[in-house]
């Protein structure tokens, strides 16, 4: 069970309060009825499914109710950052990525 920082509640909460909501930063086309079949396929079906850093949506459905975004490493399942819906995709530093990539906890022996 993950522990997820809700950017609205400003603290980490147990995963049981959240609902995953799929890949983030896929904007609904403003001209929806005009897009091509290929564009619709890309919008509705195609997913990055990265092995590594994923940008994903969560809803704090049993908490504040807000949708928000997260950057997480899909191998270690560690979060780098969570941020409010509508905020731009954050630029991640190499250090941030390295910190969640493997067995390098914040404390050792």
């Amino acid at each position: 069970m993950l522990l997820i920082r809700c950017p609205y509640c400003e603290e980490e909460r147990p995963e049981l309060e959240f609902a995953g909501a799929g890949e983030a930063h896929i904007a609904r086309p403003a001209n929806m009825s005009d897009i091509s079949d290929e564009d619709f396929e890309a919008f509705f079906f195609i997913r990055e499914n990265q092995k590594g850093i994923v940008f994903e949506r969560w809803r704090h459905i049993h908490g504040c109710g807000r949708f928000f975004n997260a950057a997480r490493h899909s191998v270690s399942d560690k979060f780098i950052v969570t941020y409010k819906a509508g905020e731009p995709k954050p630029e991640l530093t190499d250090e941030q990525i390295a910190a969640v990539a493997g067995a390098t906890g914040k404390s050792g022996k």
Binding site: Y8, C9, E11, R13, E17, H60, H62, G65, R66
Partner: protein
């Protein structure tokens, strides 16, 4: 809406009680509940109608007299009035300022959980950190109790108010009894 109806309300947990193993459970009557969704610009108007300022920090509540306002989300509050049934009508006057006032008096059911093992009983199904440092008196949060969504308010060091949707009340009550017995 005119005066309060004379028909008696049927509390879904009417007549139930439990006490044992350091936990007391009791159904609570609450006359009014409002789900308030509001943008920042409407908060002042609401505060005036309510009689006190809405809490704006996560996981907090504010209270005055019989009224309590729980922060549930950045634009959402659960406001209760223990005895007056007309809270929704009162607050509805703020709607033009940019908010939605919806009467949910009957949607929720409240249970008081108290006693030295109260937090332990809740933690049988609620995954939040309920230690005093993390969930102080006055703290409020929507969360879960096992498979039910609840709103949790700490009313005292050893006392909590649990609200859930009406049809989940039997489940939440039964769960808390089971939890209390094994706390």
């Amino acid at each position: 809406m005119a005066k309060a109806p004379k028909v008696a309300r049927a509390h879904p947990l009417a007549g139930r009680q439990f006490a044992g193993n350091g936990v007391t459970l009791a159904p609570v009557d609450i006359a009014s509940r409002v789900s308030l969704r509001a943008e920042a610009g409407a908060l002042a108007d609401i505060g005036k109608l309510l009689g006190f300022a809405l809490p704006t920090r996560p996981k907090t509540s504010a209270a005055k007299g019989r009224r309590t306002a729980l922060w549930l989300g950045p634009d959402e509050w659960l406001i209760t009035d223990a005895t007056n049934q007309r809270l929704a009508a009162t607050l509805a006057k703020a709607e033009p300022a940019g908010c939605s006032v919806v009467d949910i008096a009957h949607r929720n059911t409240a249970i008081e959980v108290s006693g030295p093992n109260a937090a332990a009983a809740l933690n049988a199904g609620c995954p939040q950190d309920l230690r005093a440092a993390a969930f102080a008196v006055g703290a409020a949060s929507r969360t879960v109790l096992a498979k039910a969504e609840i709103v949790l308010l700490r009313t005292g060091e050893d006392a909590f108010r649990v609200e859930c949707w009406r049809s989940f009340a039997d489940y939440v009550w039964t769960y808390l009894v089971d939890a209390a017995k094994s706390a």
